[in-house]
């Protein structure tokens, strides 16, 4: 009898403990890593977008809405990166806790101190898939991810005040881990910083900004729209005097154009994982940045290292 009561109490305690955790759904795997480090044992994190999938075009599958239906918090990139699918999932999830304006709806871009490429003046769709609030691909800049971590700690604390201290400690741990790796990452990318760089899509803008890469052009002259043959010709012509050009492309981009430009310019096409878990990149977001900087080092070895 005593054994039964103890078992029941144990089950109840375990249930209470798990009920205290936050069920967090992250739209992107990069943000999922931050949430896991910040939240530690107090959160469980489910990611909607698989690593291999371009987050611009994630289909709004009702099965993803089902995951969102159980969440206490939704964290998302914002700046309209998920504009094509997130509102549908929120509607289909029928979860009042994550609807717009609720404490559980967390736009991580609100934690940023600076947003790049905010359009000046009027924007229209002749410019392509332009984001009126600015470039949304900030998760490839570790400095900004530290800001996201601090922001998540604050927002998680509002939902779970008892865990406020743990969340602050988690954000500090994230910052410490980033600061430990920053010199290694920058050193690995030092060779690339000496080369002219062409971006396939503007998802590398924050990475280029962080690593001081010298961006001389873009394959997609209008974001999200296939480059015209004329633009490709112009890019090759204008870059004909450049040497040792690197073309940065995500694994999900259409490589035929990048390969053609690389061949005709004598440039190196560097295909990188676009986000955590892509291209079998190991581990979490830290592993992603390790993989990206290692690939840059392989394509453009830092001075003193053999090519």
């Amino acid at each position: 009898m005593k054994t039964c009561i103890a078992a029941l109490l144990g089950t109840a305690l375990a249930w209470t403990a798990s009920a205290a955790e936050l069920e967090v759904v992250s739209t992107l795997p990069d943000l999922g890593t931050v949430a896991e480090v910040v939240g530690g044992d107090r959160v469980t994190v489910t990611v909607l977008c698989p690593g291999d999938m371009d987050p611009h075009f994630l289909p709004a599958k009702p099965s993803l809405a089902r995951k969102l239906g159980k969440a206490d918090a939704l964290i998302y990139n914002g700046l309209e990166l998920e504009v094509g699918w997130l509102s549908l999932l929120i509607g289909k999830a029928r979860n009042p806790d994550v609807k717009p304006g609720q404490p559980g709806e967390i736009d991580c871009s609100e934690g940023l101190s600076e947003i790049l490429e905010v359009p000046e003046g009027e924007v229209d769709r002749s410019m392509g898939d332009i984001h009126p609030q600015g470039n949304p691909h900030y998760t490839l800049d570790p400095r900004r991810m530290v800001e996201v971590a601090a922001y998540l700690a604050d927002r998680f604390a509002r939902l779970d005040p008892e865990g406020a201290e743990a969340y602050r400690a988690g954000a500090a741990d994230f910052q410490r881990r980033v600061e430990e790796r920053l010199p290694v990452w920058r050193a690995a990318a030092a060779g690339a910083a000496e080369r002219p760089v062409i971006l396939y899509h503007r998802n590398w803008t924050y990475l280029a900004n962080w690593l001081d890469l010298m961006v001389v052009g873009e394959v997609e002259n209008r974001p999200g729209i296939a480059p015209s043959p004329r633009h490709v010709q112009d890019l090759i012509y204008q870059g004909r005097h450049l040497r040792n050009v690197l073309i940065l492309s995500a694994h999900w981009d259409h490589h035929d154009v990048g390969e053609e430009i690389a061949e005709r310019m004598g440039a190196a096409l560097v295909i990188l994982p676009g986000q955590t878990g892509a291209q079998d990149s190991p581990g979490d977001w830290f592993g992603l940045i390790d993989t990206i900087t290692a690939a840059l080092a392989a394509a453009a070895p830092p001075a003193g290292e053999a090519p």
């Binding site: 291999d52 289909p59 599958k61 099965s63 009042p96 898939d129 694994h251 259409h254």
Partner: protein, 382 residues
């Protein structure tokens, strides 16, 4: 002269008074010159379909022309802490038949139709939804689609024959529940007053219906969806004979696959749907069916192929019966190529062929459809 000078002075004074207020209005981007805030304006979009078509067998102007197929103006907004609202106003050609005495003449103006006017309650308990207003009824996979979401230029014959040329819509209320199962399951039920041509316009009875949707992830890249639907409403009847209670059931099966490793890469949608009008209420063996396949074979290019069959369906009053019992069975074949330079425009070249089982009716046609969207158009459901 003095009077003119007075008027000029008054105007100058008035203008001087206006200047500060005008400047103030321009400082705030969310305020109009009238001082009324624009910040709460709804998201507005317009989707337009243009269609040029020729038919080998149908000499009518309707089947051989270039025209606006449909233009939809959509407004979406949060009303207040309690409701979210959608309004869709459609403009489309009005090919109505004139009254008796002018048989054969058709009007060729444009008609306005409110396709959607609904609010959704925002504060329902977890897993529950409530929508009140006008919308397409939640029957099957094809009926809830708006024209610009169709896989082909027109709805399949198997759907048109039993749900009407313009689909089933209605004004009423729908409740939905996300059933807590290991896969996505949604159960919905509705009651509505429907103006659809298959129902008796004189009847005060409502249409009652429901749908169960199930969706499984077969992999990260693919899903299988299975749905069951049904409705019952006041049947339209024939001439002086009152219609009984009309019931129709449906089942649909959809497979979707999308390449994970390539943005806007290869993708495949395969949708199959069967409609079964209650045989007790219908003559013959009525059945509607279609199978639509769409494949994206290049970044901006889709190929589509479709088959549909409408078995023993009743002709509309203004159409010439081809058979003694007024029932017709038609097979339909379609194929198209669609160029989608962006998410906001598409050009579709399509060919279709319909033939009835008696061999008296046949139609081979080709169409070119241009589809474009401006403004803040909401994303489409999966």
């Amino acid at each position: 002269m003095k009077k003119i000078a007075c008027i000029a002075a008054a105007l100058a004074w008035g203008a001087a008074l206006l200047v500060p207020s005008t400047s103030f209005a321009q400082e705030g981007t969310s305020t109009t010159a009238t001082g009324i805030s624009r910040a709460m304006n709804p998201a507005i979009s317009v989707n337009t379909l243009l269609l040029g078509q020729v038919s080998r067998d149908d000499p009518s102007r309707e089947a051989n022309n270039i025209d606006l197929q449909e233009s939809e103006i959509q407004f979406t907004s949060i009303v207040d802490p309690f409701w979210t609202a959608d309004l869709v106003i459609a403009v489309h050609p009005e090919h109505g038949h004139e009254e008796e005495g002018h048989e054969g003449e058709e009007s060729h103006g444009y008609a306005l139709d409110i396709e959607v006017a609904k609010v959704e309650y925002r504060n329902m308990p977890r897993g529950l939804g409530l929508v009140i207003g006008k919308d397409y009824l939640n029957f099957g996979k094809h009926n809830p689609l708006h024209t610009h979401q169709f896989a082909f230029v027109e709805a399949p014959i198997g759907v048109q024959a039993f749900l009407g040329d313009h689909g089933l819509s209605g004004v009423g209320a729908e409740a939905a529940w996300n059933v807590p199962l290991p896969w996505f399951a949604e159960l919905s039920g509705y009651a509505a007053n429907s103006p659809a041509e298959i129902f008796d316009p004189e009847s005060r009875d409502l249409v009652y219906g429901g749908r169960l949707t199930n969706l499984w992830d077969t992999s990260d890249a693919s899903t299988v969806e299975f749905g069951l639907s049904g409705f019952t409403g006041p049947g339209a009847g024939h001439e002086d004979e009152p219609g009984g209670r009309l019931a129709t059931y449906g089942a649909d099966l959809t497979f979707k696959w999308l390449s994970m490793s390539r943005s806007q890469g290869p993708a495949l949608n395969w949708t199959n749907e069967v409609l079964l009008p209650d045989p007790a209420e219908k003559e013959g063996d009525p059945l509607g069916f279609y199978s639509h396949l769409q494949y994206r074979f290049a970044r901006q290019w889709w190929f589509g192929a479709g088959y549909s069959r409408a078995n023993d369906f009743e002709l509309h009053e203004h159409e010439e019966p081809a058979t003694d019992d007024g029932l017709l069975t038609v097979n339909e074949y379609k194929g198209n190529f669609t160029w989608t330079p962006s998410e906001f425009s598409a050009v579709r070249l399509e060919a279709w062929y319909q033939k009835d089982t008696t061999g008296e009716y046949e139609d081979l046609g080709v169409g070119l459809q241009v589809n474009f969207t401006i403004g803040s158009h909401p994303a489409h459901l999966y």
